[in-house]
């Protein structure tokens, strides 16, 4: 998501690496690139100015000049400064000792509040909470229907009393309802402009009525320079506790994250990374900074894998891999595990080096491909899955017909399977030592 920024910074650092030591001109050139990269990444120009000033001050300091590896020191400084700007620790929600804990979501139109309500509820549910959704957006046509539909999908009660009721009353009564039906009340509010005094006043009244333990501002990751204005007004009116950054699955560089953090002084708590209601994560500022610098978000990936992969299965799989006995049944298991981790594209984005790799720029990850592969394997008999060698021409035709794919697709899959087998044999016989992920060195 921060690919281009990473590119720019890596470009700068590369040129710094060329020299032995940094001169004042080198630093100036690097700062100019960093400044432009941040502006292109939609970081607010005032925030950029401060950021660059801080980095420059530290870069010109003795710690760099005396260092044997000045370029690495600059990377380190930029990284540290980014981490500092984005908040330096994990951020949790405040939970009340007297339930329900009230969470109020606010933001501009179209930032994704309603979807975020449902995603947050799902996450809380996974953590053993009993969330209740409260439909207080009475303005956008069908916003209440939307929340009800989402609530039904994740099996969470929704307090909805229609669009003819004052949202302040809805919120207040909704929290009472939540006390009886759960332990966390999530209040969905209408999108509003930060300069709409009337609606901002209403938001203040909602807040006063429900006394939320957490007020979260929902911000679209694609927002440009104006993110600071909106965030600042919301902060002034309802005193935010944190931010949810949405639509991070796009290719926006997400500079709004830095801006909003700088102007509100409040942490980004969650990020929304996809269309599915599971595509919602806790925000890790340190990891994100590493990621901006192209070091990859390995920790997030490991955490996801830990959630999704059954350890016993993983051990069995490893043994099989060693014996190079990888069948289509194992393949199917693997696909299932990968699916539990989220979409392929979001996983790719977390791999070290991948966001910065030029040759991967145009690689499109098609999650539909997995659907097709799954369909093909489902169309195989148990024998075919275990012994793919028996799959002859007529079997291929049957598999293609049964899975709604073409014979070429089936051939392709079999070819990939054979190549994988070959590679596994090479692995287990120890002929491929020193295998490493691209992009890790250099």
């Amino acid at each position: 998501m921060f690919d281009a920024l990473t590119d720019r910074l890596q470009g700068v650092m590369q040129s710094l690496k060329g020299h032995g030591k940094l001169t004042a001109e080198d630093v100036d050139a690097a700062m100019r690139e960093i400044r432009l990269a941040l502006l292109e990444a939609d970081v607010n120009f005032k925030v950029v100015r401060e950021f660059v000033a801080h980095v420059k001050e530290r870069a010109l300091g003795a710690e760099v000049m005396e260092s044997l590896t000045p370029a690495q020191q600059v990377v380190k400084i930029v990284n540290e400064q980014l981490v500092e700007l984005m908040g330096s620790s994990d951020s949790r929600l405040a939970f009340s000792g007297h339930p329900p804990t009230v969470i109020l979501l606010a933001g501009l139109q179209g930032s994704g509040k309603t979807t975020t309500c449902a995603k947050l509820a799902k996450l809380l549910k996974k953590d053993g909470k009993s969330p209740v959704l409260i439909a207080a957006d009475v303005y956008r046509p069908a916003a209440i229907d939307q929340l009800q539909t989402l609530g039904a999908q994740i099996n969470v009660p929704v307090y909805a009393v229609g669009a003819d009721v004052d949202p302040v009353d809805i919120a207040r009564d909704g929290v009472k309802y939540a006390r009886e039906h759960g332990d966390v009340a999530i209040v969905d509010t209408a999108g509003r402009l930060h300069i709409d005094e009337e609606l901002m006043g209403e938001l203040v009244r909602i807040r006063d009525a429900v006394k939320p333990h957490n007020v979260l501002l929902v911000v679209d990751a694609m927002t440009g320079q104006d993110a600071v204005n909106a965030a600042d007004e919301f902060r002034k009116h309802v005193d935010l506790d944190g931010v949810v950054l949405t639509k991070l699955d796009g290719d926006a560089r997400g500079g709004a994250a830095l801006s909003v953090r700088a102007v509100t002084g409040k942490p980004i708590k969650f990020v929304s990374t996809g269309e599915k209601l599971d595509d919602f994560d806790v925000f890790h500022p340190d990891r994100m900074a590493s990621r901006i610098l192209g070091m990859g978000d390995v920790l997030s990936l490991i955490e996801k894998a830990g959630e999704a992969i059954d350890e016993k299965q993983a051990a069995e799989m490893e043994a099989k891999l060693r014996r190079a006995e990888f069948t289509f049944e194992d393949f199917l298991d693997q696909l299932k595990q990968v699916r539990k981790m989220g979409s392929l594209s979001s996983i790719l984005g977390m791999l070290p080096g991948v966001p910065g790799m030029k040759e991967l720029k145009n690689v499109q990850v098609d999650d539909g491909q997995i659907d097709r592969i799954e369909a093909m394997i489902f169309s195989m008999t148990a024998q075919e899955r275990r012994h793919p060698d028996v799959i002859d021409g007529s079997r291929r035709r049957r598999i293609a017909g049964g899975s709604g794919t073409s014979i070429q697709d089936v051939n392709q899959l079999l070819k990939q399977y054979r190549e994988m087998q070959k590679m596994l044999k090479a692995f287990s016989s120890g002929r491929m030592k020193g295998f490493h992920l691209p992009g890790m060195s250099g």
């Binding site: 292109e40 956008r140 009800q148 320079q225 104006d226 993110a227 290719d251 269309e275």
Partner: protein
């Protein structure tokens, strides 16, 4: 430009007199409204600019203009281009004071936003039925824009029909349904989760059999990076093309004015997938200035056709480069 002029194919004889009166009223209040609605944050930056400006035009002034443009999301490249051109013109014209300088700035920006052929800014509704496909990323205001265009068309004596092609987002169909009732036009819909291409096929068929003039097709918001969803959109377009040669006659990309530099990527990807013919810039009633359209028009040549300046039905307006540039970046001259 007035609404009845936006729609190519609306016979002046068909437009009720009340519409002309309404347009006249809107026009008179337009610049003020634009200024009020567009200029809220502009006030902050431009006033700073004004206060800081000495009589003369110097390096510092250009730097302040750069900041003004960056703050408006024009982007680094666009800003450099605009400032270079401004400097060239000011030197040539020997402009040395603030008022003509600001005027020149607005003029340079309007120049970038003005298409070579002004006809391309219009929306051609001569075909019967005319098919208008609405696309964009999530949350930009596609459904709302459809509702407002349908209302305008109805005012002009045309018969719109809306198609609920967003079968993904929960309650998107219901949202369009509310608009259809409000505008009093027909809607073609299927249950949620259906195939959008199928709904769209039905929609175009229905428009032909029921004699609707303009078919407005809503689609699910999708990030331009989601390959499968973009393919789905390509398929929707192919289905329309197959069913009605020459259609869709208009493919409008809806861009939220708060969008930063990613707006250009959005425009590139949607253009490549479904050949976008125009941009609708929404949510200009906040403090965001929508400067990304400068980059979109300059880089991709897609004309900006409509702007959204508020929540009311009449707040969707024809885009006029000069009025827009002056309201956001220009001098205080309010004569429209």
């Amino acid at each position: 430009m007035e609404w009845h002029e936006v729609f190519k194919g609306v016979a002046v004889g068909d437009v009720p007199a009340a519409v002309f009166e309404e347009e006249e009223r809107e026009r008179r209040g337009l610049f003020g409204r634009l200024r009020r609605n567009l200029g809220k944050a502009r006030a902050v930056v431009a006033d700073q600019l004004k206060a800081a400006l000495y009589v003369g035009v110097d390096r510092r002034l250009y730097e302040q203009v750069e900041e003004l443009l960056i703050a408006a999301d024009v982007g680094v490249d666009g800003t450099i281009k605009v400032v270079d051109e401004l400097e060239r013109r000011c030197t040539a014209k020997k402009i040395e004071s603030r008022e003509p300088f600001m005027h020149e700035l607005a003029d340079v920006i309007a120049g970038v936003l003005r298409p070579e052929d002004p006809e391309t800014q219009r929306i051609d509704v001569t075909a019967r039925p005319t098919v208008i496909l609405m696309v964009g990323v999530n949350g930009t205001g596609k459904t709302t824009t459809i509702g407002k265009i349908a209302w305008r068309l109805k005012e002009m004596g045309k018969t719109p029909l809306v198609v609920a092609g967003d079968t993904f987002r929960a309650a998107a169909v219901e949202q369009l349904d509310v608009w259809a009732k409000r505008v009093d036009c027909e809607i073609v819909k299927q249950a949620k989760g259906g195939d959008p291409a199928a709904v769209v096929y039905d929609g175009v068929a229905a428009a032909r059999s029921r004699g609707a003039d303009v078919v407005l097709i809503d689609t699910a918001g999708r990030l331009h990076t989601q390959v499968n969803l973009m393919r789905e959109l390509e398929k929707v377009r192919r289905v329309i093309e197959k069913q009605l040669p020459g259609a869709p006659h208009e493919t409008l990309l809806v861009i939220d004015a708060t969008t930063g530099q990613n707006g250009l990527r959005q425009a590139q990807e949607f253009k490549q997938a479904v050949d976008v013919s125009g941009v609708v810039l929404t949510k200009l009633d906040g403090t965001a200035k929508g400067g990304i359209v400068v980059a979109i028009h300059e880089t991709l040549g897609i004309p900006i056709k409509l702007i959204g300046i508020g929540e009311q039905l009449e707040d969707l307006r024809p885009f006029e480069p000069d009025v827009f540039a002056r309201a956001i970046f220009g001098s205080d001259d309010e004569s429209a």
